[in-house]
Symmetry: C2
Subunit: 379 residues, 2 copies
C-alpha cells in the first residue's frame, strides 16, 4: 500500500547553508483533507530560493525549494470541492486562509496563516520526505521545484487551460511581485513618473507594471548596460547607469523633477534610501527587494513631515492571488504583459544547480525549470 500513499519525485533540496543544492529523489505523500497534488510542468528559479539557501531568508533545513510553480492537479484530497484532476494551477507562496483579518480586508498577502507555517503546510506538517524517511521542509508552503508537490488548497490558484504553463509559472512570484508593487502597492497612476532601482527579474516587472498602469516617464536604474537595455524593452523611457553617476539621486531628481513613485528592487537599505531620495512632494517609495535581516534604511526625518513622502514595502506585489493571477494572464493574452521575453533560458531539473549559478551571476532575467516529458502531457 506504500506505493499508493507516496509518489516518487525528483526535487531540488537545500540541505546545508551556503552549499550547492542537491537534486534528489524524494517521496511526496498523496493529498490529505483539503489538499491537492500537483504534477509540475514548470517552476521559475527565483532569487528568494537562493536567499533561503544562504540564510538571507531564514528557513529550517533540509528544504525543498521552489515557490513559482505551474502544473496540473493529479489528485485531490477529501473535502476538496473547488479542484478536480486535470485542473491547471499555480502555486501561491502565501496561503490565503480567507478568514483572518488580512484576508478579510483584501490583504491576503499578509495572511496570518502564511506567517505561522512558512516551511510547512498550514497545519504545520509536511508531505515530503527523503528516501530515508526523514521529513523535508518546503519553501513557503510550496516546495514546487519538484516533479510532484502536495499543497493545501489555500496555496493553489486555478488558471485557464489555454495558458502555457511555463509562462504561467512566472506569474506566481517574480511577475506578481514586480507588477503588483506598481499596480497594487503603489497604485501608479496614468501620466505619473516612476523610477525603478534594479533591473533584474523583479525590477523588469516593476517597470512593466508601471507601463501597464500608464506611467508617462519610467526611469530604470542599474549598474549593467545590458540590463538597462532590457529595461527599455519592458517599458523604461529613460535609463541611468548608477556606476556612471557621482550623485545618482541628484541626477534622477533632475531628470524627473521629483518622482511620484520609486521602487527598490535590489534589497539594500542604501538603495531604499536613494529611492526615497528621488521622490518629489507626496511621493511614495516602495521597497520590493528582500534585504538581509540586519540591513537598515536611513532617511531624513523632517522630509517625512514637510514633504509627506512615504516609505513602504511590497510583499508579493500586495497580491490578491485569486484575482490577480487570472488578471495577469489576461494581460499576457492581450499582449499587454511580457512573459516570453522574461525567460532567458529553460533547464531540466537536473540542471537546477546551474540555473542558480546563472541567476547569481546575473545572466538571466528568469530561468525556468521545465519538467521533462511531463511538460508535454496534458492530463
Amino acid at each position: 500500500m506504500a506505493e499508493t500513499k507516496y509518489r516518487r519525485a525528483k526535487a531540488v533540496v537545500c540541505r546545508e547553508r551556503d552549499k550547492p543544492m542537491t537534486v534528489e529523489e524524494i517521496e511526496v505523500e498523496m493529498p490529505r483533507r483539503g489538499e491537492v497534488m500537483m504534477r509540475l510542468s514548470a517552476c521559475g528559479v527565483c532569487h528568494s530560493d537562493l536567499s533561503a539557501t544562504n540564510g538571507t531568508i531564514p528557513f529550517p533545513l533540509p528544504l525543498v525549494l521552489g515557490h513559482e510553480g505551474a502544473g496540473v492537479v493529479v489528485a485531490v484530497g477529501e473535502g476538496v470541492t473547488d479542484y478536480v484532476v486535470g485542473d491547471h494551477v499555480l502555486s501561491s507562496f502565501v496561503s490565503m486562509c480567507g478568514k483572518c483579518r488580512y484576508c478579510q480586508t483584501g490583504r491576503p498577502q499578509l495572511c496570518d496563516q502564511a506567517a505561522k507555517a512558512a516551511s510547512t503546510l498550514p497545519d504545520g506538517t509536511v508531505r515530503t520526505r527523503d528516501l530515508a524517511g526523514n521529513p523535508l521542509n518546503i519553501f513557503s508552503g510550496c516546495g514546487v521545484m519538484a516533479e510532484y508537490a502536495t499543497l493545501h488548497v489555500d496555496n493553489v490558484v486555478k488558471i485557464t487551460k489555454d495558458m502555457p504553463l511555463d509562462r504561467a509559472a512566472l506569474i506566481g512570484c517574480g511577475v506578481m511581485t514586480g507588477v503588483g508593487a506598481a499596480t497594487n502597492t503603489a497604485k501608479v497612476e496614468p501620466g505619473s513618473t516612476a523610477v525603478v532601482f534594479g533591473c533584474g527579474g523583479v525590477g523588469l516587472n516593476a517597470i512593466q507594471g508601471c507601463a501597464i498602469a500608464g506611467a508617462a516617464m519610467i526611469v530604470a536604474v542599474d549598474t549593467s548596460d545590458e540590463k538597462l537595455e532590457m529595461a527599455r524593452q519592458f517599458g523604461a523611457t529613460h535609463t541611468v547607469n548608477a556606476k556612471a553617476e557621482e550623485n545618482l539621486v541628484k541626477t534622477v531628481r533632475k531628470l524627473t523633477g521629483g518622482a511620484d513613485y520609486a521602487f527598490e528592487c535590489v534589497g539594500m537599505g542604501e538603495i531604499a534610501a536613494q529611492a526615497y531620495g528621488v521622490l518629489g512632494k507626496g511621493g511614495k517609495a516602495v521597497v520590493v527587494g528582500v534585504a538581509a535581516p540586519k540591513d537598515q534604511t536611513t532617511i531624513r526625518t523632517s522630509s517625512l513631515t514637510f514633504e509627506e513622502k512615504t516609505l513602504t514595502g511590497s510583499y508579493f506585489g500586495s497580491a490578491r492571488p485569486r484575482q490577480d493571477f487570472p488578471r495577469l494572464i489576461g494581460l499576457y493574452q492581450a499582449k499587454r504583459l511580457k512573459l516570453d521575453e522574461l525567460i532567458t533560458r529553460t533547464y531540466t531539473i537536473d540542471e537546477a544547480p546551474q540555473a542558480f549559478i546563472d541567476m547569481a551571476e546575473g545572466r538571466n532575467a528568469r530561468g525556468v525549470i521545465v519538467f521533462g516529458d511531463q511538460a508535454e502531457r496534458t492530463d
Copy 2:
C-alpha cells in the same frame, strides 16, 4: 496719505536667532489686489514659532511670528470677491493657490505656492515693516501674532460667526495638525488600534483625532505623568510612561498586539523609529513632529517588505483647510472635538515672551494670545 496706507500694530518679532522675541510696534500695509487685512482676535502660540526662532525651521529674520490666528476682516483689496469687511476668518499657514497639481489633486497642504513663498505673501513681497521702514518677513505667509495682518486670500479661510474666535484660532495649526494626521493622513478606522508618542498640543489632538475616527484602543506615550493624565481626557484608553520602560517598543507591542497606526508627535527620528517599531503587519506610522534638519530615522529594511509597514509623514494634518476648518468647528459645536480644554492659559500680546517660555517648559497644552479690547469687538 501715509496714514491710510499703513496701520500701526503691536507684533511679536524675532530679530535674532536664539534670542527672546520682541514685542514691538510695526506698520502693516493695507491690502493690495487679492488680499485682506485681518484684525486679530486671538493667536495660538505654537512650537513651530519657537522652531523659527532657534533655526529648527529655517526662516529669514527679522520675522513676524504667528500662524494660528483668528480674527475679523477689516479691509479687502481690489478684486477680492469672496470676503467682505466683518467676515470672521482663520489664517492658513499653507497657501492654497487652487491651481497647482497638489491643489488640483486634493493635497493643498503641499501647494507649490506655499513652498515658494514661505516668509512672504505669495508674490514674494511683504506688507509689514518696522518703524524705521525696514521690511519684516512673515511666518509662512501669515505673521498673525500681531494686532493686524494683511494676508493673501489664498491663506485665509472664512468661518461661521457663531464660533468663538479664541477657540477657533487653535484649529489653524495645532488642532488641524494633530486631528488631521489621524483622520486625513492615516485615515484611522473604527475599531483600530493607535499609539501616539508625545502628548503635547499636537499629540493630544492626534489622540482626539483617533478617538473621533473611532479607534478602539488609543495608547498614549509620554515621559510626563501629568501629560498622560491629560491624554486620557482627550481619549487615550491606555498610557505608558516611557521613562518607566526598559524596552518601550516591546511593552507597547505587547499591549497592542502590533498597532494599526502610530503617530510621532515629538520630532525625533529615534521616536519615529519607535512608532514604526510598534506597528503590526500592514501598519502605518505617521511622523507629525518637526525634527531638526539633520535628524534621521533608521528602520529595518526587510520589515518594509515582509510586513508591508509604512513610514510616512503628515504636514498640517494633510489639511484641506477650506473643507476641514469648518468641519472641525462643526465637531466642536457638536461637542465631539475638545478645544476649551486645550487652552491652558491666555496672554496679552505684551506677555508673548512669557507664553514662549511657558511652552518651552511644557507648562501649556496650548497658550493663546488674546488681543485686548479688540477681542470684545464684533465688527
